[in-house]
Symmetry: C2
Subunit: 432 residues, 2 copies
Amino acid sequence: MSSTIRVETITLGDELLLGIRENSHLTYLGSQLAHHGIEPAANLVIRDNPNDIKDFFSEAWKRSDLVITTGGLGPTTDDLTRESIAEALKEELIYDAEIEQSIRQRFQQLERKMPEINLRLCHRPKNAEILRNPYGTAPGLFLQKEGKILVMLPGPAREMHPMFEEQVIPRLQTAGVLPEIDCYLQLRTAGIGESDLAEKVGPILEDIPGIVIGYCAHAGLVDLRLSSLDSDILDEEKLTKIGDQCREEIGDDFVCFGDRSLAEVIFRELRSLNQTLAVAESCTGGLLSASFTEIPGISTVFHGGAVCYHNDAKVQILEIPEIMLEQHGAVSEEIAIAMATSACEKFGTDYGLSITGVAGPTGGTKIMPIGSIYLGYASPLGVWTKKINLRGDRASNRRRATSAALDWMRRKLRKYKIEEVFAAAEVGNIEL
Amino acid sequence: MSSTIRVETITLGDELLLGIRENSHLTYLGSQLAHHGIEPAANLVIRDNPNDIKDFFSEAWKRSDLVITTGGLGPTTDDLTRESIAEALKEELIYDAEIEQSIRQRFQQLERKMPEINLRLCHRPKNAEILRNPYGTAPGLFLQKEGKILVMLPGPAREMHPMFEEQVIPRLQTAGVLPEIDCYLQLRTAGIGESDLAEKVGPILEDIPGIVIGYCAHAGLVDLRLSSLDSDILDEEKLTKIGDQCREEIGDDFVCFGDRSLAEVIFRELRSLNQTLAVAESCTGGLLSASFTEIPGISTVFHGGAVCYHNDAKVQILEIPEIMLEQHGAVSEEIAIAMATSACEKFGTDYGLSITGVAGPTGGTKIMPIGSIYLGYASPLGVWTKKINLRGDRASNRRRATSAALDWMRRKLRKYKIEEVFAAAEVGNIEL
């Protein structure tokens, strides 16, 4: 059923083609559909041009079972999706009093006069169903025709996302396009390549009827997705059991079930231990802090960070002795450790994590080439440091150094469980 | 000529369709082509599937004058672009000894044994020209046929970007697809909408022969692009003059010529004044620092930042009196100012910039709803604070608060030129 459904998405917008904006609609719809076991066959980014819209849509409609469009539903002259697609489908556009009423209501709520231009939005293809838009004016459209489904969504993400999740997914499930029971498990790993991971879990996953296996590598992580498209053959309980076996086999490279970020995994671990964290960073210049602070509610664990970009800042804020900087250089094991311990001390936290390095494009030397990064980690159980060597450009080195620090801390936290270590230390059995 | 060239780009990769990775190839190629006055007509993201590649490519080839593909040129079994497109074009694949030699050389340099699988890369469509790949193994391909051009590029960005800029652009210029003389000017603005900007510069740009005008809004900025596709009619000098007139008309909302970030504009301004900067941020949690530290060489100006996410951190790192936090609350004018001045003091810098606010999704109150952000600015000429109200989700509020702080500082820096103010103060003529 759904495994053979062909889906194409059409994203409208000149700004995407001009390289001005990332196509986040594809990222969003792709991951939403993947979560339901469907990989879109194609995404077409096209201009707000009526002929292009008609042509590309007609081709996609011929090839596919489900076509989803985003953008071009607004009231202005370059919003042409509704009209162009209605023409391609030979659907009459009819006036819908309900739409007008909801738009007028919205403007009343906002205490603004409704520009007459918005009346364009009140037309819909005769056989299309309206998708309410509580966060904007342009409604979405849902059309079943010729055994196929067309979904037209507004462009702004904050209107499109809730519309897709609350109104489109249930309709696709009712139509039998998406499986009603979501039987899907994701294992996130770090520090292991896609092919090595496949080799590790291969024997476990061999010959399991009804399983669909997918690997996805991104930003230093590899996700393993196990889906069952028919829960009569493979149900959630069985899938969970298989997931646990894989987790065991993957070992330390296993990050979590689901799609938590590395920072979120650390956050949850520290929260459960009732411990706090601060960071100090140089070349990553705020990215490490930002990885933590993107998580809502993290202030119970994460107190803050010192971005000590200039050497003076390392002296002034972290009170690292100048002589130490002179002796070892800012990019060194010693300074990484001093930054981590000083972060603990200055912010009054239990744990400290630090990054210092040469991000490039300049500042490299023969001994300390661009991409040389030192990490520092301070914990109630001791301090550690680690060197990594990266080979990207400035932006990629900054990103990767951040991920490497997070993954390193995650491993350390898992390895040295604080209660276990204390218990072991009491019986004279500790080895750190 | 080039204004009527139709370009389509084809990006291969399942991970894009699964929403795992952003389509940065489109962003890159789109902005590269836009820089040469060409807007791609479409971008097709498709799977590594030979039938899809053949079908989508054949359609694109029919419609377009130039087709650019990325990805799928590697040695593994899911790298099918070369074979599938050769088949679609009825081009014979021939063995090219030169490719083999360069691949063997690359492996020798890396001191690694070449896996035999790489010999697949040694085949090319008979009429295609090889594009060297100094940063990887898979060469690119350049093919002229039926009055059209096909460019096939490898997937990794660090291989694809230099290949496109150094080898593809010159070939497209020679072929007459891209104009030889780049007559192109971009004005970046902030704080003004696209339509208001168009209204402002409209009278200046009216009736100028040979001018192509484009507007692009992104992340709070609006870019105005003025291109001349025929320098006999409109040359660079004339374009510069027109640009200056526009700049004057745009006034304070003008950010820069070109595509510098707001942080870079501040960096250049402070560098020219020989002044230094530190930041302090709460809800943006590192993003403000990261905006500055993404700029190479900024340590001469930017010393660092304090991410004071937890209230304790504001007390411990910035030494903001606890009683002040209790009296005014962490999200207030007073604390924003205290954070900015304390950043100056602690980091020993001339300027300080701060952000404190409620990013959401929780923590909002009736008086201080989610999206309430206070900015603080400390300078040798005095301190200022400003409130802004945002209405997005956590991620968008964090991003927008960061941009707002940067734009605000940029304006303040331009308004109060330090030498001018000092000169004015000397003659008793200052008004801050």
